[in-house]
Symmetry: C2
Subunit: 148 residues, 2 copies
DNA sequence: CCATTCTTGTTTGTATGCGAATGACTATCA
DNA sequence: TGATAGTCATTCGCATACAAACAAGAATGG
């Protein structure tokens, strides 16, 4: 909304959904997910990759903690972890000192999967950012981080 | 990957999921969705708003067409439209000239909902972008558009 | 005009993603 | 210590999101 210098009236910028941040964020995310799954294949989703990759950094880790660090709801992280456990990439052990907690860690196979796919994940990032120049990427990532 | 001026070796940038575009896009989108639903309430989701708002611009419109214009899969747009129809915001009529097609249009109530919530949608956009200065917003939106 | 091909809409299956409720356990503080 | 508050994991319900398979209709070329 702006005030016109001529009329002094409030001027409505025409509202176009396709120009709104929300719409664009959703689309950009969709594009990235598509690129990621083209490169990685159907083995791993972006969300699963986040969980595995983050778990490797913070091993061992409780389920909710991992959810917090990957920005996933408790209900969401449970589903993700369940599928990773079923596929033998993540192991769960009950916590000795806290009976509520489930302690997560990568299995041997999980470690291998993370190692094997790191270059592919880098490639996905690269391709997603490919429409931007090197300088634009720096700026974009900086601004994007402010919106999180 | 960069080449060090000192060693001449290829240096691996340490891989951190939380710094990757994909991770940040997902988070930024989550934040926007949360802001939107705080402002609009549980009446409408971001996706439903996109569909309604776009439909108002392009009335009447076939279902798949609307999906294409809102960047939604055929299966996704069907679910969205079904829910909007069930709530009386969208009406469907069979197309005379093409028996496959379902022609969509806003109902009276649908028109009202779009009109009533446009300011709120603007406010959601505004709040999502609030961490950025006016100049940064222009740059960010421009770069984001290139990634779609 | 007929066969091939494309498009439209539907359904199924899998995977996020969140709100809200629940049960079990821990921590805290009066 | 005993009530209260907070945390962890689970579950349910709803809403995207996409791949894949399908049926019916439309469009095209031969």
């Amino acid at each position: 909304m702006q005030i016109s210098a001529e009329t002094g009236h409030i001027e409505e910028t025409p509202y176009q959904v396709e120009r709104q941040v929300g719409f664009l964020l959703r689309q950009a995310n969709q594009r990235h997910v598509a690129i990621f799954s083209n490169i990685i294949g159907d083995k791993l989703t972006t969300t699963q990759w986040s969980a595995l990759s983050k778990l490797q950094q913070n091993q061992p880790c409780s389920q909710n903690q991992l959810g917090r660090e990957t920005a996933m709801d408790v209900a969401t992280i449970k589903g993700v972890v369940d599928r990773l456990v079923k596929r033998g990439l993540v192991a769960t052990v009950p916590d000795m000192s806290d009976a509520r907690r489930v302690v997560l860690s990568l299995t041997q196979q999980g470690e291998e999967v993370v190692t094997e796919n790191r270059q592919a994940a880098r490639a996905a990032t690269e391709e997603t950012l490919s429409p931007l120049t090197s300088g634009e990427r720096m700026i974009f990532l900086e601004l994007l981080q402010k919106l999180c």
